[in-house]
Symmetry: C2
């Protein structure tokens, strides 16, 4: 198992180190700007949600190879002693301009730009893509689920099939940013302060053998926090037993919070179960459903009239199953005074240091973005990239997660339905400023 005090300076592609060694040996020390952006919308998506900046900023501001890292690099016989000595004292001394977490952004818009001596900016590439790709992808998928749920509560149930331990944590964080109300992941509760939530598994019912006995035992253990899983054997029979236990709990002054459906036809079953609960005088016992939901299945269930108060959303959100990666890249856009545009087949990037400007109408709705150069001003439009690191130092503490979540909520409300529809969403208008176009023409010539 990985040493728990291992840091992640070496969690990088080898070529970042061989390139930087070659920059070092060839005296390539000018200031470079790299831009992180997404080149294409994956199927069905027409907006993105920024997440993951906090983890990248901590990485950059604390970047420092350990003794054991340097010993390992030395053992590869790839690097000169001079270069290894340089790495020993190397810190990130540059600047980062970035979208705040919770901002909505679009194709080709820089999520962040790093400006630093080229070695320092190059060496961050692998980690910045790794952490921002995952978190923005999950925040985007989770936002689509929140949108589909139209006000119903969503809980992250994805930990078991998230890709490893780090993804389990970051999925909880990103889905909370996008409006999920809680996670089943206890460590995410401890580390990030996200509300935690849970019910019971089929194994709990099976171990008792008798479903009614299992329900009663759980209600005794958690009289204020019981949600009963009712599909272990037969959902309708399970619902009747849950109603019985709810009535028994009521006599003791307690309230059954809800029942959970985990298999079968969610629309049909939820309505039958609602009737059973209502007829037993249990109108405020909620129905919780968790059965391979994603934004499409949530939307369908609601449109069909399912009687579901809250959804457990698991695997398909936690791995962004229909788009498990974004076409996100970190490209050199300026070296010294020279803006850089790469020109191979179909892979053009916008040269130069940039800024994203957003136009908002008098009702607070987003109307159009303009990608401009970093130093220009665009009338009636607000710049979105903010300086977050200068001279290698963080310019501010990290915003609390709740503040990020609230920022996203406000932004999402300001984005018109036509741009966030689950099906056939329109592409939001993003233009280039006249000045940025001039830079492109000059650098492609």
């Amino acid at each position: 198992m990985i040493n728990p005090d291992e840091k992640f300076e070496l969690l990088t592609d080898l070529y970042e180190l061989t390139m930087t060694a070659s920059y070092f040996e060839n005296g390539m020390a000018e200031t470079a700007t790299f831009s992180l952006f997404i080149r294409k919308y994956p199927s069905g998506r027409a907006y993105f949600v920024a997440a993951g900046l906090e983890q990248f900023l901590d990485y950059a501001a604390n970047f420092q190879f350990s003794e054991s890292d340097l010993t390992f690099l030395d053992r590869t016989s790839l690097f000169s002693d001079d270069f290894l000595d340089y790495l020993k004292t190397m810190r990130f001394t540059g600047s980062v301009d970035a979208l705040a977490e919770g901002e909505i952004f679009f194709r080709d818009e820089p999520i962040l730009e790093v400006t630093a001596p080229i070695i320092e900016a190059q060496i961050l590439e692998t980690f910045v893509i790794n952490t921002i790709n995952l978190q923005s992808m999950i925040a985007t998928k989770a936002a689509r689920c929140v949108h589909a749920a139209a006000g119903r509560r969503l809980v992250d149930f994805s930990l078991r099939r998230a890709h490893g331990t780090d993804a389990g944590l970051k999925v909880a964080r990103s889905s909370y940013i996008a409006g999920f109300v809680a996670t089943s992941n206890v460590l995410a509760g401890k580390v990030y302060g996200i509300p935690i939530s849970g019910t019971m598994a089929h194994s709990y019912i099976s171990s008792f053998g008798d479903e009614l006995e299992a329900f009663r035992a759980f209600a005794r253990s958690f009289p204020k926090k019981t949600i009963l899983l009712i599909d272990t054997y037969d959902t309708i029979a399970g619902a009747r037993k849950a109603a019985k236990v709810a009535q028994e709990m009521a006599k003791e002054g307690h309230k059954l919070l809800g029942v959970r459906l985990d298999s079968g036809d969610m629309t049909d079953l939820s309505r039958q179960v609602r009737n059973i609960l209502d007829e037993a005088g249990l109108k405020d016992v909620e129905i919780f459903a968790s059965s391979t939901f994603d934004e499409y299945k949530i939307d369908r269930a609601i449109k069909e009239g399912a009687s579901i108060d809250a959804f457990g959303v698991g695997t398909k959100m936690g791995v962004s199953a229909d788009a498990p990666y974004f076409d996100i890249v970190y490209k050199l856009v300026q070296y010294g005074e020279r803006p850089i545009m790469k020109l191979s087949t179909g892979k053009v990037n916008l040269a130069g240091k940039k800024q994203v400007f957003r136009k908002i109408d008098r009702n607070g709705r987003f109307t159009e973005d303009v990608i401009g150069t970093r130093d220009e001003t665009i009338e009636s439009a607000s710049p979105l990239l903010e300086p977050v690191i200068q001279g290698g130092k963080l310019l501010r503490g990290h915003p609390p997660l709740k503040e990020i979540r609230e920022r996203f909520r406000k932004n999402f409300a300001a984005l018109d339905e036509k741009y966030k529809a689950l099906h056939d969403a329109q592409f939001y208008p993003v233009k280039l400023s006249a000045h940025l176009k001039e830079v492109q023409e000059a650098s492609s010539g």
Copy 2:
């Protein structure tokens, strides 16, 4: 950022803890057996590769809540002091029987079974699924790529779009088990001893501006390890410049290892580039290709006659893009003396403690598996689940990664082509023993 000494006992679904609290309070303390298995083949798959056991065994054998974990749980106000006291001294005291890493297995076959007092076995659920799902899924995807490559070398390039830091490491480990020869992930080299490999990025070329100058600079820095990326501007012109640099290197007594293609039509370009290199007398300069390869694209390129010596395989392998999760579950199959079969809609599991028996013909080919009860013997068939933890203690050290890789290589060679074909693979025959069938009939009655 997560505290680097955080352990993962709390990386669990809240319901594991509420259920175990309720087991504790209701005196449910009998020995339980849980079975980990995959219920369905994802699209295109007809076998699985076992990986991830080492990380699970370390977790189980060292399971112990920290003081800060217990403080956090106390603050949730969900748990009694008695239960928290119990958790404080709780260790895993049970046993684990498991397939060795590198074994090939099939739908419904137990990957491992955990037998322990029910609380101890239940509480491992989330982590065991999390770590074995990811690693077996990636090993399976990587095995398909290795099979398609038909002897050509594959290198893991997926770190940047793997889902987080832990996935980045585990993807490197799992793909190496399946036969990849190296990874770009430097930390995976340090932690697991996997060979590391890399070339250069477009930013390296762009920063110099002049492609030839960039090639020469890199060759000066790494005269024994140079692979030149030739598609930054125009691949054919890039190949000619690389040939020139190779000839210059030869005069200094050095050898260009290869060139890399990263965009465009791989078949056509690789053949043109091969001709350019051959005509320049550079028959042993290899062509390395890295352009959204997965098993299907590798297979197509080879069938079309592409001239590619090695593939960099990135995102699509590293996130198992066409099947980013498996339908893997951990189910209670026995409690005390009672075998358990869950009966809700379409979700049956095989009751009782089990063993997987494999029949092998005189040529060493796999012919059939039989799932039996743990204690039976099946003629001319070898049991695959081995005891790996007993009384909470590891029974052996972990096998070296190279040994696991070699085990997989031998196993894969013994599996007939019809079961591992990329398209329309047949399902391998898996039967239930007569004894196991009796157990099922007895427990469903």
